[in-house]
């Protein structure tokens, strides 16, 4: 395992800038998650690391060496693609053995067999090794795809939304397996996703991308609790952070120049208005089973927050809303430090 880094990397496709001024250093053994919507440059960043794209400017470093000019095969990385990564004309076994048979780092058949069997057991696909790739279910295919990365001991793993094509149950199962593999192997992993749960649960650090730029990079808690701007704030938290005009609700510690107040469930205290004249009204309650989403109308604005299923609130009830240490943003959407008393 080794550290990987991008230094001042630019990448354009024709008129479109895919990645701009990217500085990203992933430490040895670190699990770094790149988060962002489609088109933010996450996949391009991975492909630049892998050598599948050449940067227009800047350099790519792996294990302290400049590998910018080197072909993908020389970089000793493993890449898990979102889909299409299994060769349909081969069996699961041959798919798993494929990286070990690469010219230049070919192992003998006995050792290939050992490794493939070991990984297949780890991922619970050992009974499917003789099946053609096309005969596997979606979950099995993606296990083989991940397994194909794991059979080697590469400098780093690059994973491009490896779980996005799976159903929720498999996704959470494989998420746990990935976390375990990372822990046991001390693997360096760069992981691309737009799923905030994967980002929050797997990452040592999260990098939030927007239009090819790294907006914020830090541990999940920091990014969650102290989003640098409105964009980052709106990417994390479920239900999403409510962004309200600065003067909609009274709040303590509001700094000068506040244009927007960001409030998630933990920043909102809701109570039935005893006098029947609250600041807001319950507009709708969505029952999700273990929790409720409550939609509140405050003037022309709507807030969505979580509530205890045992809550006595009903649609139409007036409520009092108190903000507790929310996040403040200025006119440009940048975070402002709360005023200390």
């Amino acid at each position: 395992m080794a550290d990987v880094a991008l230094r001042g990397v630019h990448k354009r496709f024709g008129e479109t800038t895919a990645v701009e001024g990217m500085d990203l250093a992933v430490a040895d053994g670190e699990f770094l998650v790149l988060l962002g919507p489609t088109g933010a440059g996450k996949t391009t960043t991975l492909r630049l690391l892998a050598g599948l794209e050449k940067p227009d400017e800047g350099e790519v470093r792996i294990g302290g060496h400049d590998v910018t000019g080197e072909p993908p095969a020389a970089r000793d990385l493993a890449f898990v693609f979102q889909q299409y990564s299994l060769y349909p004309h081969m069996t699961a076994y041959d798919n798993l053995a494929f990286p070990l048979r690469a010219p230049g780092r070919r192992l003998d058949d006995g050792r290939i067999r050992d490794r493939v069997t070991h990984i297949a057991e780890l991922l619970h696909i050992d009974h499917k090794l003789d099946s053609k790739a096309t005969q596997l279910s979606g979950g099995e295919m993606q296990r083989v795809a991940i397994g194909r990365a794991l059979v080697r001991d590469p400098a780093a793993f690059l994973m491009d939304e490896p779980l996005s094509s799976l159903d929720a149950k498999l996704r959470s199962e494989l998420r746990l397996e990935l976390a375990r593999i990372h822990r046991e192997r001390g693997a360096t992993i760069v992981y691309v996703t737009h799923d905030q749960i994967e980002a929050m649960t797997l990452a040592d650090r999260i990098g939030v991308l927007r239009e090819g730029r790294l907006v914020q990079l830090g541990p999940p808690r920091d990014v969650y609790e102290a989003p640098r701007n409105v964009y980052v704030a709106s990417r994390l938290g479920s239900p999403a952070m409510n962004l309200l005009p600065g003067d909609l609700l009274p709040v303590e510690g509001k700094p000068e120049g506040t244009a927007t107040v960001g409030a998630r469930t933990e920043h909102l205290h809701i109570a039935p208005a005893d006098d029947g004249r609250g600041v807001g009204t319950v507009r709708r309650i969505e029952h999700l089973g273990d929790q409720n989403h409550i939609h509140l109308a405050v003037g022309e604005h709507t807030l969505v927050t979580l509530a205890d299923p045992a809550s006595a609130l009903r649609t139409g009830d007036p409520v009092d809303i108190r903000l507790d240490a929310p996040v403040f943003f200025d006119r440009d959407g940048e975070q402002l430090a709360p005023r200390t008393r």
Binding site: L52, P72, A73, S85, P88, A102
Partner: protein
């Protein structure tokens, strides 16, 4: 094709869906569909059957009117196809020792003797060399070209592709004279190499366009995964892309072979003695008093065989190859 390459995305195959739509329709409609297929098959088969039968007729039966459907089969056409013969006086015939083979006997019964083998075999061998040689080259070069067009940012890509296609826009006869002059300067006139190069050039447009379609269908993640796994692009191409493209390659090869095999105009104009293929040769096999129809029919029958065998061998690929565009998604 979808089932083969992209099952990762959709488990259901389009081919099944199409089969279902026919199978699930009403019995009456199925009968009608079956009838149409049978009638169409009969219409296309009649000339072929006629050729096959004519090959086993005597020259007399072959031109009798009304045409004979029931006749006594004879191998005279095939014997005439492979031999040159000359008519002899009855005295000379009587002076010969008894015939050694059945075909000697057959020829002598017409008061003729075999003077040597005809040039049919040479023409046939020429067709095989030129047809399969140009097919191999066109498919080989076409595969590489199509891959490049499919995967790399080629400058002026659209113009180049159109330019490649434009070689098909003129009838052969329009370019035959310039090509004839070029070949004469280059010493390629009436050579196997010349005809192979010419048919390859003509087939390149077909093979590049067909194969580019197939290459575009193969997700580039396949070879990218291989490249990250430690393979060079060329190794990835052979290990991963080619096996995925076999269907397209087989379909393309059949189309290229059929063109090269049947090509008439260039062969007629550019070859004479050495490299002449079978198509310009077969229709002018002369017998006594005009065309030797049984020999022509026998030659045509034998001429059809290689393409038939080749197509049957690759037919599963061909079916998938020409239908996958329609049933995908």
């Amino acid at each position: 094709m979808k089932a083969e390459t992209g099952a990762a995305a959709t488990p259901a195959t389009g081919g099944k869906a199409v089969a279902h739509s026919v199978a699930e329709s009403s019995p009456g409609l199925r009968w009608l569909a079956g009838l149409v297929v049978v009638v169409y098959a009969l219409v296309t088969m009649i000339p072929l059957v006629w050729i096959l039968l004519t090959g086993f007729k005597t020259p007399q039966d072959s031109i009798s009117y009304p045409p004979k459907v029931v006749f006594e089969p004879s191998l005279e056409g095939y014997v005439n196809l492979f031999t040159n013969r000359s008519r002899q006086t009855p005295e000379y015939m009587a002076s010969l020792p008894p015939p050694e083979t059945w075909y000697d006997k057959l020829v002598r019964s017409r008061n003729m003797v075999i003077t040597g083998p005809s040039r049919f075999k040479d023409r046939y061998v020429n067709s095989v060399i030129i047809g399969f040689g140009s097919t191999f080259l066109a498919v080989f070069l076409g595969t590489l070209t199509a891959y490049a067009f499919s995967r790399f940012r080629v400058p002026l890509q659209d113009d180049l592709l159109f330019f490649i296609l434009s070689t098909r826009m003129m009838p052969p006869i329009a370019v035959a004279i310039p090509i004839f002059l070029m070949f004469r300067e280059l010493g390629l006139s009436d050579t196997h190499l010349g005809m192979i190069l010419l048919y390859t050039a003509v087939n390149m447009s077909l093979s590049v366009w067909l194969l580019k379609g197939f290459m575009d269908e193969i997700p580039r993640e396949y070879e990218e995964a291989a490249m990250v796994d430690g393979y060079t692009r060329l190794q990835a191409f052979f290990k991963v892309v080619l096996p995925q493209a076999t269907t397209g390659i087989a379909a393309t090869a059949i189309f290229c072979l059929i063109f090269a095999w049947n090509e008439y105009a260039f062969a007629l104009l550019l070859t004479s003695g050495n490299a002449q293929t079978a198509p310009p040769f077969i229709p002018i096999i002369i017998g006594e008093g005009g065309l030797d129809w049984p020999a022509v029919a026998a030659g045509t029958t034998l001429f059809l065989l290689p393409v038939l065998i080749f197509t049957v061998m690759l037919r599963s690929h061909l079916l998938r190859g020409i239908t996958f565009g329609a049933v995908r998604k």
